[in-house]
Symmetry: C2
Subunit: 371 residues, 2 copies
């Protein structure tokens, strides 16, 4: 049972507050990804100082190492990793498809080999609920199947229908308690009728929130937006909507305009470790020699510690020298950039000028849409 | 010109305060090593929060990348790396011997190939002084030659005598200014008469402080202490004494007891990155499976952020998963452990109970002496 309050809206864009057992989340919200119990190259205090209120943990990774039972013995994921705020965990469904070895999917669930040591494991709706409960996730995701893109409509339909049966089993297995919630995941690929069928199946079951899965899988921003155009607004108005694995800054702004409340993506953290800096004027590759004598901060408009204290030349030096501090500073900057974007979105909604913000952003970030 | 004030002493052990252009250093002091302009895996704020007041930078690394001239264009090393406190730089002499490719030593200096790109470079007393001036080092080290251990007395003598000629040229090339100082380096291997000759040569020239070089090169703690027994107390009483590249906790306590004021070593930071934790009960290897279910902090007696917020089990998990946060937390802990040791040493001196502290420490840390 999660409390979600709508504060205001502009067109389809929504401003809200989500209350969980571990604290409140202002939406639209971006969740940094803390795969194995750490947002890579950052302390939880630094993550919090960027403005992040909720992070994501990965069921697939954590069930393999250190195991959900072990995390539970340490008092749950919040205490294990020293993140006192809300945590959403994915169901493991997506990553078991993309990361594990030999796998076999049946109606019961998925058996697969660990990418770490090859050991045989099983995930089913019931086991995924159990794991997420052991992790003490504030928001649990229903266990679903993900198909590769592109796929034939028949394949997408069969997979979506199985995911809906798994969603029902997830709901039945989920242990409801105050401040904890379960989200269903809409599937159906790029097919409007399948998306609508999926939404009807999920709303019949009833969830605390609704995620949109099967996007950001290579279909491109235009296609993604066209699916969102009919999908997001067909979801219940009074529940949070979460677009999984998205995305670039322009993806986020465009998706908020289409009615999405929550996002997660490895992009800011992964880019930070490889030397990419998000700035208000576009993306910089800090490994490029052009930065070697640059005395400017990464982004003069940014208030993050990296921009307050270091030059582009120094950060370039760190990456050229293979220094860990480079990853630390740039990850922090990128997460800050994303959280600042969410702050700007929320403020624009609060001040009833989101349309202007949206148009201005899409013009300034035209390059980002082609990334 | 550096101001060094002796506060108190117990036997040969000394308690002092060193004043530099960028701030004050309480001695005995341990300097974390910031090789290429970063104490690896730590922000400068975290380094400072451990209690560290002065750090070390490496001339050899910085002259190759990003180059001393470039650091100067960024306002010096303090501003480049955002460390506002005092910095000591080594002369490059030791590392050109241990790291560079093909090298040729003449009376003029050393020509060598960069370990990064093979480019040809030159270091001489004059060039080393120029580089350290460009870096804006509060404490500059005289340029010296280091011989391998063990070496025949004749070889050690010839090398020491050259180092003394280079020390004179270093003094002549050093640009003296208030708050900045130049340290001479005593050489002479494990030979008492050579050490005494070296000290006489250096004190004839006159320096702001005296370093003891050529120790911690594989001779063992007993031999090192026996050299310190006659070397440290033969140095001028009113100047700081710096034992280069030392060492383990028991090396430091035993050297303070023999009259040393300053230390540097990569051990706490390098160990942190490889999973070794210094604790009040000895060294832990955090990669060992024995820690997997351990809910205790690294060291119950430690006040560092890692010990306040994380279990051994979590830190083990980070190292097993190859997570950067593991290196961050453990490096911070180890530097904290070293700074806490220095605080305990200084307090024991202040409270006139250093002999008891020394004896107690050497008994408790007997294992460390055999590491």
């Amino acid at each position: 049972m999660l409390k979600f309050q709508r504060i205001t809206s502009t067109g389809k864009a929504r401003r809200g507050v989500l209350e969980t057992a571990h604290g409140t989340v202002q939406t639209p919200a971006f969740m940094p990804v803390g795969t194995v119990g750490t947002v890579k190259a950052m302390t939880p205090e630094s993550v919090r100082s960027t403005g992040a209120e909720i992070i994501l943990g990965n069921t697939y990774h954590l069930m393999l190492r250190p195991t959900a039972e072990r995390v539970a013995s340490f008092g749950g994921l919040h205490r294990f990793m020293n993140w006192p705020g809300p945590i959403l965990t994915d169901s493991g469904g997506f990553q078991v498809m993309s990361l594990s070895g030999l796998r076999k999917i049946t109606e019961e669930g998925v058996t697969f080999n660990s990418h770490i040591d090859g050991a045989r494991h099983m995930l089913s709706p019931e086991r995924s609920m159990e794991i997420q409960n052991l992790l003490d996730a504030d928001i649990t995701m229903a266990f679903d199947e993900c198909v590769k893109y592109p796929a034939e409509k028949k394949v997408v339909q069969k997979s979506m229908e199985r995911s809906m049966r798994w969603a029902k089993r997830s709901k039945e297995a989920f242990v409801d308690r105050p401040g904890y919630g379960l989200f269903g995941i809409v599937q159906g690929g790029m097919f409007e009728d399948l998306r609508m069928k999926s939404i009807r199946a999920l709303t019949d079951i009833g969830f605390d929130g609704y995620a949109i899965g099967g996007l950001a899988v290579g279909e491109g921003q235009e296609m993604m937006f066209s699916v969102l155009d009919y999908t997001a607004c067909a979801l219940p108005d009074d529940k949070p909507r979460y677009l999984m694995g998205v995305g670039r800054p322009s993806d986020i702004v465009g998706s908020v305009a289409r009615g999405v409340d929550m996002f997660d993506c490895v992009m800011p953290s992964r880019s930070g470790r490889t030397g990419q800096a998000f700035t208000s004027h576009g993306v910089l590759n800090m490994r490029n020699a052009c930065h070697i004598d640059d005395h400017r901060p990464l982004d003069a408009e940014c208030g993050c510690p990296a921009c307050q204290n270091y030059t582009r030349g120094y950060i370039h030096h760190l990456f050229r020298s293979g220094e860990i501090l480079g990853s630390m500073l740039l990850t922090g900057h990128n997460i800050w950039f994303y959280q600042n974007l969410m702050r700007q979105i929320r403020t624009a909604l609060d001040e009833d000028r989101f349309d202007a913000f949206h148009n201005d952003f899409m013009n300034r970030y035209a390059h980002d849409r082609k990334m």
